[in-house]
């Protein structure tokens, strides 16, 4: 009896304590945070709409021909972005080819038990730091350190292998290949970090089973662990590709910014982002709109790559 008469008293007291106003404020707080959370998606949409809208005049003027013509001529207001699209794809591709094997090596080195955790941690920290160095600092370093080193290597390659179109011109300093190397350095931490996550997520029972069947360490890694972590590695690589295609400052500083398509890697080129970086501040009229069009193309390409990467990477994260 005593128990049952106590309960309603407490309940009613609690109800009295909170006024309707305070309860409304509480719901209001939840709504407020919700609005901010949803604003993230809204910002993403607004970027697409805003940039697309400003690009409309150029889209109407040049249509899809913008993507396949080579002329960028502010004096006569004729614009085509093929060299920049080509440069974006080629420089990121070089970056990826260089960064993927090394990044994978680092990931394996830091995920399997090669090292005691005490030594592993600082190396993980160093690789993270590599990702945190500002792009413009890499650009500065690229101009004064990397270009002189790579020029010598380029001269040697051009001397011996100039019959291969890729090495057919003499390096002058800045160029597509320098941009590719800088991009490789910048995206390596992404590939390493995400591949490492994927490798660490592979259940230990698989390793033990493989070792139990007397597989060597690398037979286990190559035949058991890598296939199990494959989707994560692919996802990380695509994320890195998206980053490479959007990277601006370091590339702008070392690629030479020439508006042309040349087969040789030692020739100067440009990317969509370097075009934007070089021209936006002084552009007007149809040129602004054309730059917006180029930015919109870059946005779409990186969006597709990022969404695909995100979907793949998400699959391993939910598995963990």
């Amino acid at each position: 009896m005593a128990l049952s008469s106590e309960k309603p008293v407490i309940a009613s007291e609690m109800r009295r304590e909170r006024s309707p106003l305070s309860r409304k404020l509480d719901t209001g707080f939840v709504w407020l945070t919700g609005v901010f959370a949803i604003s993230l998606a809204v910002i993403l949409l607004t970027i697409a709409i805003q940039v697309g809208y400003r690009a409309l005049p150029a889209m109407q003027e040049f249509g899809l021909g913008f993507l396949v013509t080579q002329r960028w001529d502010p004096v006569n207001d004729i614009y085509g972005a093929l060299p920049q699209i080509y440069g974006t794809l080629v420089s990121s591709f070089i970056g990826l080819i260089l960064a993927l094997p090394i990044g994978l090596g680092v990931a394996i080195f830091l995920s399997e038990d090669f090292l005691p955790t005490k030594i592993q941690r600082p190396i993980v920290f160093l690789v993270e730091l590599l990702a945190a160095i500002p792009s413009v600092v890499y650009g500065l370093w690229g101009i004064f350190v990397l270009i002189p080193i790579l020029r010598n290597m380029g001269v040697a390659l051009n001397g011996g292998l100039s019959w291969i179109p890729l090495f057919s011109s003499a390096p002058t300093g800045p160029g597509m290949y320098v941009a590719g190397v800088i991009l490789a350095i910048m995206i390596l931490p992404i590939i390493a970090a995400i591949s490492r996550d994927a490798l660490v997520a592979v259940p230990d029972t698989l390793r033990q089973a493989a070792y139990g069947l007397s597989a060597t360490r690398w037979e286990t890694i190559l035949k058991i662990i890598m296939p199990a972590a494959f989707s994560g590695i692919v996802g990380g690589t695509m994320l890195a590709l998206g980053r490479a295609m959007g990277e601006t400052m370091a590339v702008t500083m070392v690629i030479g910014n020439a508006n042309k398509i040349k087969p040789s890697l030692f020739d100067q080129g440009s990317t969509i982002s370097s075009l934007l970086a070089n021209q936006f501040a002084e552009a007007d009229g149809l040129q602004i709109s054309s730059l917006m069009y180029a930015a919109f193309v870059l946005f779409l390409i990186t969006l597709i790559v990022n969404v695909l990467a995100e979907l793949i990477v998400r699959r391993i994260r939910t598995k963990v």
């Binding site: 304590e17 305070s22 309860r23 509480d26 707080f29 939840v30 407020l32 945070t33 901010f36 959370a37 949803i38 604003s39 993230l40 998606a41 993403l44 970027i47 400003r54 094997p101 090394i102 990044g103 090596g105 680092v106 080195f109 090669f114 920290f125 160093l126 690789v127 730091l129 590599l130 160095i133 500002p134 413009v136 600092v137 890499y138 650009g139 500065l140 370093w141 101009i143 004064f144 350190v145 931490p189 060597t216 360490r217 037979e219 890694i221 959007g246 400052m249 934007l276 970086a277 936006f280 501040a281 917006m292 930015a295 870059l298 990186t302 969006l303 990022n306 990467a309 995100e310 998400r314």
Partner: protein, 291 residues
């Protein structure tokens, strides 16, 4: 029994010269080399930035504005001021919005479809190239107000900071033990009281860590301020005027032919790298103390 013993020990011992074992050991050497190759650029950048930037690391750097192209001396005061303006604006915009959005994701809709969708949008937003974020703010603010400004630069940086803050704050909030929330609610606290008095203070080190890393990253971003803040040779009087930032000056001076300006570029790069280093080491210490 007597000859089964050597048999077992022999079968567990690999012959180091067998092709399989040789392959395995050489691959191990290769992957170690990969790690060494990966950190060489980092050490090269650190070495260059310190050795070249240190010569200009004096009081002038912080008290004088940038020199004219052919003159000597000068500092980066105007760039420091611009960086302070743009990064402050970005922080003031991104941190409150980001933390509150994280509260929604971690406290009110955790593990729901909505939370996953917003998390997805956050990740995709963080993959938007910084120069596209700059283009966006250029068309949103610069084209409509017809004015390059530190404010526009700050907004562009905020767009880039926001996903970083949301992600780290959400993680920090999710680490707060469920018992703390239950205790608060059990004492009759409202949701606002639970979040503001119990959960947020508990998650504070993690949130500060995220904000710090976001600030360091924003200070180094160049592409989005290139045509929003634009740059200025002089001190600005207000946030509605064009302003230089450290990153912009490193870019401009690095590509200039004058030695004096190139030296200043290295000094500016040293400042940026120091910022990143300090933020990373501090955040590491904060996280370690909590664990």
């Amino acid at each position: 029994m007597s000859d089964s013993q050597p048999f077992i020990s022999r079968s567990l011992q690999r012959n180091p010269w067998a092709p399989r074992t040789l392959f395995s050991s050489s691959m191990s050497v290769i992957s170690t080399l990969c790690a060494v190759i990966a950190v060489i650029p980092l050490f090269s950048v650190l070495y260059m930035v310190i050795s070249k930037g240190f010569s200009r690391f004096n009081l002038d750097l912080f008290t004088q504005i940038q020199p004219a192209a052919l003159s000597d001396g000068g500092g980066l005061l105007n760039a420091l001021q611009g960086t302070f303006y743009t990064v402050s604006i970005a922080t003031l915009l991104a941190v409150p919005i980001g933390v509150l959005a994280a509260v929604f994701l971690a406290e009110f809709v955790r593990d729901t479809k909505l939370a996953r969708w917003i998390g997805f949008a956050t990740n995709v937003l963080s993959g938007v190239p910084s120069i596209v974020a700059g283009t966006f703010v250029y068309s949103l603010l610069v084209l409509t107000t017809k004015q390059f400004s530190a404010f526009a630069g700050g907004v562009a940086l905020a767009v880039l900071m926001l996903p970083v803050i949301v992600r780290t704050a959400t993680e920090a909030l999710e680490l707060v033990p469920q018992e703390l929330r239950q205790a608060a609610v059990g004492l009759g606290a409202s949701r606002f009281q639970t979040v503001s008095r119990v959960v947020l203070p508990a998650a504070l080190p993690g949130i500060i860590t995220g904000a710090m890393l976001g600030v360091a990253r924003a200070a180094g971003e160049t592409a989005p301020v290139l045509f929003t803040a634009l740059g200025s040779q002089y001190l600005s009087n207000s946030i509605w005027e064009p302003a230089a930032t450290l990153s912009l000056r490193v870019y401009n001076f690095a590509t200039s032919p004058y030695k004096n300006l190139q030296d200043l570029a290295w000094a500016g790069a040293l400042l940026l790298v120091l910022m990143v280093l300090v933020a990373n080491i501090l955040s590491r210490l904060l996280v370690q103390r909590r664990a």
